[in-house]
Each structure stands twice: as C-alpha cells, then as structure tokens.
C-alpha cells in the first residue's frame, strides 16, 4: 500500500523528467516521416497515416481483442518465467555445486534461438495458447534465472555474518538481508524479460496462432497493407513502453531508493 502511495506521489516528477525521452522519440518520428517522403507510402507510410489507421482499429473495436490475447499470452509466459526463474535461481545460488552445474545449461538455453523453440512448441502444443506461452517462458526463463543466481551468490559474506551475530531468525534473514539484495539484481532482469516476452509472443503468434497481434500482422502482410502493419507494431511497442515506464520503472526507483544519493531529501 505504501508502495502504491509512493508510486503515485513520485509520478508527476518522474513524468516531468521524461521530456528528454519524449524529445528523442520525436526525433525518431521525424526520421520516419522523412523516410516515408523518400520511399513512398507503400514501403513506409508516414506516421500520421499509421496513427490514423491505429485510431481506426481502436475505434472500430478490432484492436482490443487481439491486444488482449497477445497480452494474456505474453504475461502468462512471463509470469511463469519470473516465478520459476526467480525461485530456482535463488535456490541454485545457495549451493556452489548447483550454480556450477546450472551455468552451462543456462548458456544452452540462452544460446538456442527462440524460433527453434517455437518450432518445437508448434509440434508439441499445436495451435493452442500453449505454443506462444511456452516460447515466451523458455525465452525469458534463463534471463531471470541468471539474475537470481548472481544476486544470491554476490550477497556480501560480511552481511551474512551480521545476520548471524545479531541472531536474525530465518525469515528475517530472508526479508531483511537476502531479498533486498537479490531484488536489486532481479528487477532489471524482470524488465528485460518483459521486453523479450512481447517480442517473442508476436513472433510466435505470427507463425502459430489464429488470433492476437502476431496473427493480425500475418494478415496485413499477406494483404500488403503496410499502414496496418505499422499500426499494429506501434500498438505493441506503445503498450510495452507504457508498462515499463509508467509501472515498472517507478517501482524500481522506489525499491532502490537506498542506492541513489538524491534519495536523501525524501
């Protein structure tokens, strides 16, 4: 609850600090506009047309069911990866043997391209939700797992000794010493995993699903409808940016207030 209040209180100042980010996004739009002027609307429709198409998709109600399906799959896979990766990574971090054994396995998982997992998933799960969810899970899991492992392994031995001599009970050792340190490693990994999940889910849907943004992209591609293609891409990217910068980043700032020096004034 206090976290929610801090999030709401910090939001205006945080948004104000976003002018720089907005300026760079505007530059991107300008470059897009310029590219469209050079190559013509079939190759690259201008931003205005794209946003108008997106507006049309939203007002006609066509956008929401697709976006909801995509979000459901991405978040399901992400939630599984975050839960399993965080828990298993921390467990592996506790034991030297487990962390040494898991390293090569994680490298294998990280090195296998998501498209390869997607083909396997299509064979295993067919056209069901299982295919995108599994692909998202397997793409995000190693990222989260490695962060949890690193966080647990790098906890300062000195602080463990402090926990011992001040007779911290097991639960307090976890909540007051281990978790705050591990979370500072985990949170950035969760944000990376979120980005991965959106990318992978659209790819999976493009090849394996009958609905969702990926499937909609497959349709617009076959109709050579570049404006709608860009509209869908814009929608997905805007959603990702909103979740990351309006929700996760402020929470991260609040959780890591102890790191920054400007926190002193708070």
């Amino acid at each position: 609850m206090s976290l929610l209040r801090a999030w709401a209180a910090g939001l205006p100042a945080y948004l104000w600090s976003g002018w720089g980010a907005i300026a760079s996004l505007m530059l991107l739009l300008a470059a897009w506009e310029a590219g469209s002027a050079v190559y013509g609307p079939l190759i690259l429709p201008d931003p205005g047309t794209t946003f108008a198409t997106l507006g049309g998709l939203i007002t006609s109600g066509a956008a929401w069911p697709e976006l909801a399906a995509t979000a459901r799959r991405a978040l399901a896979g992400l939630a599984l990866a975050v839960a399993a990766g965080s828990a298993l990574g921390m467990l592996a971090g506790v034991s030297m043997t487990a962390s040494m054994m898991s390293r090569p396995l994680v490298t294998v998982l990280l090195g296998t391209p998501p498209i390869a997992w997607l083909v396997l998933a299509m064979l295993w799960f067919g056209a069901s939700d299982g295919t995108p969810v599994f692909t998202v899970f397997i793409a995000c899991f190693p990222v989260v797992f490695v962060a949890a492992l690193q966080g647990t392994r790098t906890l300062d031995g000195h602080l463990r000794e402090v926990a011992t001599v001040f007779r911290l009970p097991g639960r307090m050792r976890l909540t007051d010493v281990v978790l705050p340190h591990v979370v500072s490693y985990l949170f950035p990994a969760w944000i990376t995993a979120l980005g991965t999940s959106w990318k992978v889910v659209v790819m999976a849907e493009l090849l394996a699903s009958a609905d969702g943004v990926g499937a909609a992209l497959a349709v617009t591609r076959s109709q050579l409808d570049t404006a709608s293609t860009l509209a869908w891409i814009t929608a997905v990217v805007a959603l990702l940016l909103a979740v990351e910068y309006l929700l996760l980043e402020p929470i991260k700032r609040e959780l890591e207030r102890w790191r920054s020096s400007e926190a002193v004034q708070a």
Partner: protein, 266 residues
C-alpha cells in the same frame, strides 16, 4: 549477572594446515575490558570470530555464560537498504521487540552516540565514515549486551572521533557493567580503555604478555596513557611480537616467549 564470564582454555585453531592460534587461555569476567593487542595476521580476528560463534571451535574449550553478546566489526557493515535508525534497531527487531518500542530505543541510542534526527533517517551511503561507525556502535549497544566483542572498531577514524567514541563506550560500559573484548593493533588505544591487556604474537597466534591496569579507565589522562604505552613498548616480548628491534639486550630469550603476567606496571 556478576557471575557471568567468558573462559577460554587451551584453544587452538588452524585453517587447513596453517595453525593460526595455539594454547590460548583467556578469562573475561563481567564488567571488565580485555584488549587483545598484536600485529596484523596474528589471529586476533579469528579468536574474536570464535567467541562470536562465527567459526566452529576446533580444539580447546570456550565457555561463555553471557546471554546477550553483541559484535562490532572492523567495518561498520550497515545494511545499505535500511535507514540508519532501522539499522540500529536490527538486533532489537531480531529479538522480537515491537516496532514502536524498538524504534524509540534505537533512536535514543543513536542520539546517545551523537547521531541527529536527520542522520537517523538517512541511508548509510549518505553518512560519513565516522557517522557509520557511530551507527555500528549504536547497533551493538542498543541490544544492551552484557558482552561486547569489538574488532578494531575505531581503527579507521581520526583521533578526535576516536576519543569521542572511546568516551561514549566507557560511559556505557561503566553504566551497564558490560564485559568488553576488544581487538586492536593500537597499543595506546588498549592502554586507554582496557583493564587487562593481552599481547599476541603471530605464527602461530599466541599470548606472549599480559598486563593488568589497576587505574580505572575513566581516570586515565593523556600523560598517563603515553607513559604506560612507552613502558609497555619496552617489554622485549611486546617488541618482538610487533617485529621491532630489541630496546635492550634480552636477558633470557627463552623465558620471554612464555606468557608472563605483570600487575599495574604503570
């Protein structure tokens, strides 16, 4: 309370094949201050960690009837994600003291060691080294320990700050009759604070000289401390343990190696 004591007999400790402590005998009755002095690497910290229960006893005996020991480490070792006040309250929280009471007690102890309200609300990284040491001292004293173990706690501080913290420690020690086992490589600090000084030599760590100081610590002035330190530095065993050249030709080198006891030398 008055019957509590720490008794060490024939204690030895080795890391792998390297023997770091041999034949250690020590007694620390309630309300006394015992200083262990010796060069770096003579096993002082190992001995303290054994007393604190951070290392497992290998041979010899170590009995402590103190019920509430507290440790102050060489570095402040504050938890970076907790405010100074919450850091001071750490031991109380572990002991199950309710939140309002532990924060009140921690606040009072923090102010007693010279931390103001602003500093108590800050995170440790915003504090100076001296402030962090004060917080670490307050964290140990907040538990109202009957045994305080200190590992070169003031070695990184300037002499002014050192003097202040010495006075605070002595006041608290006199008021609560705390037994203190402190490690230092600073002979003068030992002479200023301790009732008993045990000088250690290295390879393997052993006690080569003991000195009882009868004058109460709070009545010692600078002149007395300088003179007594100079006297102590004339003892051949002490010079040898720090690797200093002999001040005078040693008369019976064999006997100097054996522990000897002098009472009230100064």
């Amino acid at each position: 309370m008055t019957t509590a004591r720490l008794a060490i007999r024939g204690l030895a400790h080795a890391y792998a094949l390297r023997s770091v402590l041999e034949g250690i005998d020590l007694d620390l009755p309630a309300g006394r201050v015992l200083a262990l002095v010796g060069p770096s690497g003579c096993g002082k910290t190992t001995l303290l960690h054994l007393c604190a229960g951070l290392l497992t006893l290998q041979s010899g005996s170590l009995h402590s009837s103190y019920r509430q020991p507290a440790v102050m480490f060489q570095q402040p070792r504050l938890l970076p994600w907790k405010t100074t006040l919450d850091n001071i309250a750490l031991g109380l929280k572990a002991a199950g003291v309710p939140r309002a009471e532990r924060l009140a007690r921690a606040g009072a102890m923090g102010r007693a060691v010279g931390l103001d309200t602003l500093a108590l609300g800050q995170f440790p990284h915003a504090l100076s080294g001296g402030m962090q040491s004060r917080a670490a001292l307050a964290r140990a004293l907040a538990l109202l320990p009957d045994l305080l173990l200190m590992d070169e706690p003031f070695s990184a501080l300037d002499i002014g700050l050192k003097g202040q913290l010495h006075r605070m420690l002595l006041e608290h020690q006199a008021m609560h009759r705390v037994a203190v086992l402190m490690i230092t490589h600073d002979l003068m600090e030992a002479v200023r604070l301790a009732d008993t000084i045990a000088v250690m030599a290295s390879d393997p760590g052993r006690i080569v000289h003991r000195l009882e100081l009868a004058k109460p610590a709070r009545e010692r002035d600078d002149v007395w401390v300088y003179r007594c330190t100079a006297d102590l530095l004339q003892v051949p065993a002490v010079r040898a343990s720090f690797g200093l050249e002999p001040a005078m030709p040693p008369q019976q080198p064999d006997e100097d190696a054996a522990p000897r006891r002098r009472v009230n030398a100064c």
